[in-house]
């Protein structure tokens, strides 16, 4: 594996040198990031992470070429081994990998009319839809790498998806975008440390017989589609969003067997989402932002495995399976995030961002494992000092119902304009049976550095 990494590093170096020496007109930029995450309670090393992003760009008249290569050596990710199923990904590479994170050709045609310009883009593209932060219901076009859970920001988690897009810009206040994604690429869950209990059970509990995921349309028979309409009205920036295509996370399909075990087959479903997002600057530096998504297809929710006698057969999921069901039911589903931020809250250079996120299962049934509502309060507070050379910050989320939370505190220093050093910690609090509380024992400190070139 190391040999593979070295080869890849040499390839990158060759590309870099070629780009800088042979083709002076090609722009080269990027960053190198290194990070160590260690547990507070046991002192375990959770993660040694080294990442290099190299971006190559060239402009030829109205055509822009962008190539973003990422090389990663991440000890958090398990070795590639199909027998253990300790990762979930349509094309898993193991701890070390080099891949094309984003790469596209973008061409502009511009007019002197009511249409300002048309942009056509094709390649591996990272999209950003919506106006909220971190919990973004409409931002679902790209697969994500969840190996480090929510400790990696959403923009960094995204993986480019092969697609084509056409955008029509009518003045600065109105635009239309259409996206076709003729590729399926799943999100990645591949962690040696942050393994959700549900996945741990599927892998280790003898009652489950976990099958390989059923991946859709290897032959590209079914595209995914997205469309977006942007409008500014009364200073409110808003978008209508639509997506019909594959969910990046699977639904587990359960089946009884004659040997009293359960066959579990992850399946990727097609979903239909209608979304809306907005932002509006108000007063005193405050900006209101939000986004919401409503799913009319493809969202499945598991039946509960709880029964008074502890007998799985008598539980709602057992009864559903006995009737020939798959252990889950499709429901309409809604999610929204709304909040505000202020660049100079109370005093100069104090940034405050508060958001409320709610997930709702429409026509919820008491027999489902998931509650009808899941409510989170999210915060992000930063204080910049000495002309933004130093920053202390905190961010995280609090689940109102089960009173669990994850939170981060960080101290950042910029010794140079292109160098950032970070020291921080993450804490997780909550009962063991909650989404966040299951990682209560994984409180950790981290030290990191990022050099931009």
């Amino acid at each position: 594996m190391k040999e593979k990494l070295y080869k890849a590093a040499i390839s990158l170096a060759v590309i870099f040198i070629a780009a800088t020496q042979s083709y002076a007109e090609i722009s080269v930029s990027g960053n190198l990031e290194t990070r160590n995450q260690s547990g507070i309670h046991e002192g375990d090393v959770y993660r040694n992470y080294l990442k290099a992003d190299i971006e190559l760009g060239e402009n030829i008249n109205n055509t822009v070429v962008k190539v973003l290569l990422r090389a990663e050596d991440d000890s958090l990710r398990p070795e590639k081994d199909t027998t253990t199923r300790n990762y979930l990904s349509s094309d898993y590479d193991g701890p070390q990998r080099i891949y094309l994170r984003e790469g596209y050709l973008s061409h502009d045609i511009y007019f002197d009319s009511v249409i300002d310009s048309i942009n056509i883009k094709m390649g591996r593209i990272i999209y950003t839809w919506g106006n909220a932060d971190e919990q973004k219901p409409v931002d679902i076009l790209n697969p994500q790498d969840y190996s480090n859970l929510y400790f990696t920001p959403i923009q960094e988690r995204k993986i480019g998806v092969f697609s084509g897009s056409a955008s029509i810009f009518f003045t600065e206040n109105f635009f239309l975008e259409g996206v076709v994604i003729p590729e399926f690429k799943s999100s990645e869950i591949a962690s040696e440390v942050f393994v959700p209990e549900e996945i741990r059970q599927l892998r280790t509990n003898a009652i489950y017989n976990l099958q390989a995921p059923v991946e859709p349309d290897k032959n590209n028979k079914k595209n995914s589609y997205g469309a977006r309409l942007g409008l500014t009205l009364f200073d409110i920036d808003m978008h209508l969003n639509y997506f019909y295509g594959y969910d990046r996370l699977p639904v587990n399909k359960f089946q009884f067997t004659t040997t009293s075990s359960l066959i579990v087959t992850p399946e990727y479903k097609q979903i239909q989402m209608i979304g809306f997002d907005f932002q509006r600057a108000l007063f005193w530096g405050i900006t209101l932002r939000g986004e919401g998504a409503y799913y009319t297809k493809g969202k499945y929710f598991y039946y509960s495995d709880k029964s008074p006698a502890g007998n799985l057969l008598l539980s709602p999921i057992g009864q559903d399976l006995a009737k020939g069901g798959t252990g889950s039911i499709e429901k309409d589903y809604g999610e929204y995030t709304v909040g505000f931020d202020d660049q100079d809250f109370i005093f100069d250079d104090l940034y405050l961002n508060l958001q409320f996120n709610q997930k709702v299962i429409v026509k919820h049934e008491e027999t489902l494992a998931q509650e009808k509502y899941i409510n989170h309060i999210l915060w992000n507070v930063k204080y910049f000092m000495v002309n933004k050379k130093y920053c202390i910050s905190t961010k995280g989320a609090y689940n109102i119902k089960d009173k669990s939370l994850y939170g981060n505190g960080e101290f950042l220093v910029k010794p140079a304009d292109n160098l950032e050093l970070m020291l921080g910690l993450w804490i997780m609090e909550g009962k063991e049976d909650t989404d966040i509380g299951q990682f209560d024992h994984n409180d950790m400190v981290y030290i990191a550095g990022k050099l931009t070139f």
């Binding site: 402009n59 030829i60 310009s117 839809w129 600065e172 920036d237 932002r289 304009d417 931009t452």
Partner: protein, 259 residues
């Protein structure tokens, strides 16, 4: 960022119309606002140098500025193209009878953020430019008093005092010197409430780059309280047709051919 963008807009869109000598201070300011605007577009590439005047430490970044005049209303884009701020982009849309609409795009966020316009005196990122310094405010935000003309460096200049109408302003007045030929402000002194100068801006090396479009190739802003300085050194400035589609918040994340 918005302050800086305003500066660029102010510097690039101040006038070449020859003011008449009987004009009031406000009329001169209005003339300056409507001059040096290109309906085709202006592309400026510059180095931004941040200097700590006590330690002598400097940091240099590259930036690209694109501006265009659309039926008398300015649109401006500013982007850092290197350092940890690389890709950080500011879009300013001038509007008639309303505050300008502004968006800040940070690559780490991924989508543009609408910016509230009340923080006109705040510094942009870690530079010494503020909204007011950089022309982010409207002509109507001040009252004006015209002082006696001066000759500076052999050039005839207008001298104006302007007083912020906002009572919350940290400045008591600005003294602005505009070159008569180009209507580019070559000096602005900012007086604090104490009556002392707390900030200054100077511009020089003013060149005509096209159809009466004047651009100062050197701008220097000094914060006398914090002992810091920000220098803008223009490497290249051209008048050329630019893609009007750039000035849309939904494409602030895209690369420009002009980069």
């Amino acid at each position: 960022m918005k302050k800086f963008c305003y500066l660029i807009l102010a510097l690039l869109f101040t006038g070449t119309l020859y003011a008449q000598d009987n004009m009031t201070g406000e009329e001169i300011a209005q003339k300056a606002r409507h001059s040096n605007r290109s309906p085709k577009g202006v592309v400026v590439k510059a180095n931004i140098i941040m200097k700590n005047m006590i330690s002598g430490k400097t940091e240099t970044r590259n930036a690209v500025v694109i501006t265009v005049d659309n039926n008398g209303l300015a649109k401006g884009l500013f982007r850092f193209t290197n350092s940890s701020y690389s890709g950080t982009t500011m879009l300013t849309l001038e509007r008639k009878g309303q505050d300008n609409l502004q968006y800040l795009y940070l690559p780490s966020v991924g989508s543009p953020r609408q910016i509230e316009g009340s923080d006109k005196e705040k510094n942009f990122v870690d530079t010494d430019f503020s909204n007011e310094d950089l022309g982010g405010s409207k002509v109507e935000d001040y009252t004006y008093k015209r002082l006696a003309d001066q000759k500076i460096g052999g050039k005839d200049c207008y001298v104006l005092e302007r007083y912020p109408k906002s009572k919350s302003s940290k400045f008591s007045k600005h003294v602005v010197i505009l070159e008569k030929d180009s209507l580019i402000p070559i000096s602005v002194q900012f007086y604090g409430k104490s009556g002392r100068i707390i900030k200054s801006m100077k511009s020089s090396d003013i060149r005509n780059i096209g159809s009466n479009i004047h651009v100062p190739f050197y701008v220097e802003v000094t914060d006398l309280e914090n002992k810091t300085q920000t220098l803008l050194k223009v490497n290249q400035a051209v008048e050329k047709p630019v893609n009007q589609g750039y000035f849309n918040r939904n494409r602030m994340n895209m690369k420009w051919a002009e980069e």
